[in-house]
Each structure stands twice: as C-alpha cells, then as structure tokens.
C-alpha cells in the first residue's frame, strides 16, 4: 500500500451560519494527481485553503505532509507549494527577481538560487524574458512561471487552485504536461478545477457538491459507476442534485 501524504477526517468549515465545507474526509496518496472538482461555490477553494494553512478549520482533524492541520500550519508551509487562481507573483518585480525572492523566502542560499534560476529559465524557455516585469508577461507564461516558483523549494505536495483559468486549450495542454512531469518526480499534485476534461488527466478525483464530497474514485471508476461516457456527464449527474445556488 502506498503511503498517504494528506489525510483528512470530518473536516468542517463554517462562515457564520453558512457551512462552506461540510464534514469531508479523504486521503491523498504520495505521487498521485488528485483532482478536486466542483461547481463555483461548492467549497473546493475553502477546503484547499485549509490544507495550505491559509485558513483554520471549524472542526475536524487531518495531516498534510505529516503535520497537523490545526497546530502545524507553519510547518506544513515549509513542505508545500501553492499556486492560486489569481496570478500572485509581484508584477513590479522582474522574472528573475521573483524567483530570487521566493527562493530566499524558503531559505535557499544565493548560489542555490542562481543555479535554480538558470535551470528554471532554461526549462521554461524564458531566458530572454528574465529581466522583464512579471506583470508584463502573457497569461500563459505567468502561470507557468508561478507554477515553477511554487516548486522552487522542492515541496512534497503542490496545491494548484484552478491553475488554467482563462488560457487557451493549447496552453492548458502544455501546462498539464508540466504537471505530469512533476508528479513523475514523486511530487503529489492536488488540483482544483472546473474543467471536466482536465479531470480525465487526474489519477483520482473527488467531486464536491454543497460542501460535501459526493463521489470519489478514479475517472474510469466514476464513468463506469455512473454509466457515463465522459467526466462531463458524470459531473452533470452528480451536480444535478445540488441544492445550493452559486
């Protein structure tokens, strides 16, 4: 049996009397690509923010990278990477300066940062853009850059919050290639998305509806379980039971 890098029991998050995440439990295995699906407002971003230590759960237990989500938030942060749905690198710093800043924050030495920067720029093919402001890059490049920077300190798990919003299918496909490469190196990828075709690329997906996990299996398992031809259909069957308005 593979080891679990994320284990969650009975996680609940309330905002006032609104329950955003309602008593969910799940495990994520090391090295897998775990998809977190759901309509807007289904609670997937909230759940992910708790896992990253950005938000405290109302109740529930769990560990991420071996640390408790209630007490070990700062330790968790050393072992994960995070890329939000909004481009959140500093637009008024250059590509190289952004890499340097985040490398430094994670405690890399100047020399290590230099080596990593060269390697990263080479891999992204952004050598000639290294002194451009991050804010001036095209959206697709920004996302690739943000992804690479989220990996700069060699985290065990990387959290991607709707990483491919707003880009063309070709860029999306290439982005997923990067995700595959990363997973192959043993990094666990936790990704939220509402593109159903992307769900097909995941090893396992969980579908959130109204703050609860309505289904969780491999894409193939889900399709056969719901007698659907593709994930889109699966999703429509499950989400059809939703009561919560967007």
């Amino acid at each position: 049996m593979e080891e679990n890098v994320i284990t969650i029991w009975n996680l609940t998050k309330k905002f006032g009397n609104f329950t955003a995440v309602d008593n969910i439990s799940f495990d994520v295995r090391k090295g897998e690509i775990f998809g977190f699906l759901g309509a807007n407002g289904a609670g997937k971003t909230t759940a992910m923010r708790i896992l990253c230590g950005l938000s405290r759960p109302t109740s529930g237990e769990g560990t991420v990278a071996g640390y408790d989500i209630n007490t070990g938030q700062e330790k968790i942060k050393r072992h994960i990477g995070y890329m939000s749905q909004k481009f959140s690198l500093y637009p008024d710093l250059t590509v190289r300066e952004n890499i340097r800043l985040f490398g430094g924050i994670y405690g890399l030495k100047d020399r290590e940062i230099r080596v990593k920067t060269d390697a990263m720029l080479g891999m992204l093919g952004m050598q000639s853009e290294k002194d451009k402001f991050a804010g001036d890059l095209p959206l697709g490049w920004k996302q690739k850059l943000a992804f690479s920077i989220a990996l700069i300190h060699g985290p065990e798990i990387i959290f991607l919050d709707e990483p491919t919003g707003g880009v063309d299918p070709e860029t999306r496909r290439r982005f997923w290639e990067m995700i595959y490469d990363t997973a192959e190196k043993g990094v666990t990828v936790f990704v939220t998305t509402h593109y159903m075709d992307e769900a097909e690329y995941c090893d396992r997906v969980s579908v959130m509806v109204d703050g609860k996990i309505a289904a969780m299996d491999s894409p193939a398992g889900l399709k056969s379980g719901y007698h659907a031809r593709n994930m889109d259909e699966v999703f429509r069957i499950i989400a059809g039971r939703a009561e919560r308005e967007e």
Binding site: L54, S55, E74, L89, R100, F102, G104, I105
Partner: protein
C-alpha cells in the same frame, strides 16, 4: 530570508513611477514654502474710525494707532452705521468710535468715551487685534499723562525676556513642526497603501503560504520607510540650515532617536489600518482621518493647554503630541531625553501597542 524581503521592498519602492519622487519631494517642498506662510503674526488689520470728536486729541489717538504698523486705516466715517456696514462687507476688522465729548472728558479726567468693535469671526485675528488696539490706547494715555504725580504712586518696572527665541520668530517655532508633519504623513500614508495593494494584487496570499513569519514580513515592510524618513529628516534639517539659517540647539542624535520612535508608531498604525481595510480607498480615508486629527490636536498649531479637559485627555493617545513636543524641545531648547523622557515613554507605549496589534491582526490564516 530577511535579506530577500528587504531587497523586494526597496526595489518595489524605487520602481514605482510616482512614489519615491512624491515621498521625497513633498516634505522638501513643504519645508521650502510653508515656513513663509505659517505666521500667526497679525498685520494689516483694517481699521475704521468713527470720529465724533474731530478734535486735536482724537487726531492724536488715531495717529497713535496707525503709527503702530499693525493697522491700516481704511476710512474715517461720520456715523457708526456706515462703519458697521464696512464691517459687514469684510472691509473693516476693527472699528474705533470716538464720541463727541472726547477731548473735554479726557481733559477733565471724567471719562473715556471710546469704543472698540472687533470682528471676531476669526478668533485669533480678533483677540490679537483688540490687544493691539488696547495697547495703542494705553500708549496714548501714557504720552498724554507723563504722570506728573509720579512719586506719589508706586511703580513696578516690568521687563520681559524671551528665552530660546529672542526675536520671537514664529518661523523658527514652526520649522520642527513642519518636519514632524512631513515625516508623519509619509510614514503613515505609504505603509498603509503598501499592504492594501498587496492584498489587492493577491500577492499577500502567496507570501502567506510560505513559512515567512508575520513579524519578519511586517518589520521588513517598515525598514524602507525608516530609511526614507531619515533621509527626509536630514534633507529638512539641511534646508532649515541653508535656506533659513536655523540650527538645532540640541544634539541631532536625539532628533533621530525620537524620529525612530515615531516611525514605529506611525508605520504600525498604517499597517494596522491596512490590515483592516479591504481596499486602498478605505485605508487612505481612515489614515487621512487620523492624520488630520493627530495634526490639529498635537499642539503644533494651537496649544494643547488651551483645549478643554476632555480634549486634553484625548491628546495623550496622540503620538504626534509626543513627537512634536520632543522635536520642538530638542530643536529649539536643546532638551535631552533626560528632560523629556515622558515623550519617549508616550511614543514607546503607543508604538508598542500599535506594532503589537498590527502584527497580531495581520493574520496569515483567516478564521
């Protein structure tokens, strides 16, 4: 980790097209222009005379007033109504009415039929104007009556002496105050906008998922403003010296010391407000609100002692009160921290509260 965060703050500051220029130009310009404008000295008070006496005596009284240099004789009217109309039109600040029997009554010592009307819409101008007029009249009386019976009445010779500012130069009094305003504004406005803009661009969230501690993040944000404030302080002191010829009477070190304390307070306040604001506009409004209150209730423009009791109590929570007092004491009187330890204590207390609260309320994780 610190090195990289600091590097980022400095780069961002100097890369902004308008910010550095504005932060540095504003206090310098203020220092160059405002000292000329800030004068409480009242001159050219428009005086209207209603001379019912038209005598030699009344002429002498009027001359005494106009010769003082504080008044500008606008017109000599015949009727009080006419003079009152001039005052309603804002053409007269003061009216002096001399009754018909003036010269006789003064001669016989039976009375002094002179009335003064002062426009007191503007409090300062009114009270100072009436003081000047009264003293002119006193002088007139002294001239007329060189006390023939001097030996009979006792006399106390009173001499005035003004320490630290023998020339009664109001500019000198305002120089340290302008420095205080410039530094306070910069160190209050800029940090407040800083965090809010990170919030708005979403970059703060990227920092929040890293292991950076909140105090490190906030302290790194404060340090650049500290550097800027020192630069501004130095520039202002140089301007005061080269342009106006004023030098600090106390040790410069103490000015820098108190400025450091003030920066902690103001930057703390700025960060605190930005933590609670969801956009730049809100943050700016709140900061502006506090900045104006701090300024007007700091004793910079009007003495704290003249405020009512409850307002004086409020000023104890005003960091600018302590900072302005300290800067003035050091600059004008050469006080040392041993003399004005309470200013340091006040700033430290408020600063610790602000910075502590700012760090506590800047949450890396929400509830």
């Amino acid at each position: 980790m610190w090195k990289y965060l600091l590097e980022k703050e400095f780069k961002q500051f100097f890369r902004d097209p308008g910010l550095p220029r504005m932060a540095l130009m504003f206090p310098v310009l203020m220092m160059l222009v405002f000292p000329f404008a800030v004068s409480m000295e009242i001159r050219n008070i428009n005086l209207v005379v209603v001379d019912g006496s038209r005598s030699e005596e009344s002429g002498r009284l009027i001359e005494k007033c106009t010769a003082s240099g504080y008044f500008r004789l606008v017109s000599v009217c015949d009727s009080p109504d006419e003079a009152m109309r001039l005052m309603d039109d804002n053409k007269a600040d003061a009216i002096i009415t001399i009754d018909a029997g003036f010269s006789r009554e003064v001669e016989t010592g039976t009375g002094f039929p002179v009335g003064i009307k002062i426009n007191t819409v503007n409090g300062t101008r009114g009270s100072i104007g009436s003081q000047y007029l009264s003293s002119c009249i006193r002088m007139y009386m002294q001239d007329r009556n060189p006390s023939p019976d001097a030996p009979a009445s006792p006399a106390i010779d009173v001499a005035d002496r003004y320490s630290f500012n023998a020339n009664m130069d109001y500019k000198l009094f305002m120089i340290p105050a302008l420095i205080v305003i410039g530094i306070t504004m910069i160190t209050a406005f800029l940090p407040a906008l800083n965090i809010v803009s990170e919030k708005e661009t979403g970059t703060i969230e990227q920092i929040n998922v890293t292991p950076v501690s909140k105090s490190a993040f906030i302290i790194c944000k404060m340090i650049p403003y500290w550097a800027i404030a020192f630069f501004v302080l130095t520039a202002c002191l140089l301007i005061a010296w080269t342009v106006f010829g004023y030098v600090c009477r106390g040790r410069l070190l103490w000015l820098y010391l108190y400025t450091t304390l003030d920066i902690v307070v103001m930057a703390g306040l700025g960060l605190l407000i930005s933590n609670y604001s969801s956009n730049a506009q809100q943050a700016m409004f709140v900061i502006w609100f506090f900045a104006v209150i701090f300024m007007l209730m700091s004793g910079i423009f009007t003495p704290i002692a003249s405020m009512p009791e409850w307002a004086q109590t409020i000023t104890y929570f005003n960091p600018m009160r302590y900072y302005a007092d300290a800067m003035r004491s050091v600059y004008l009187k050469g006080s040392t921290p041993a003399d004005i330890w309470y200013d340091a204590a006040g700033l430290l207390a408020i600063g610790a509260a602000m910075a502590g609260w700012a760090i506590a309320s800047y949450r890396k994780s929400s509830d």
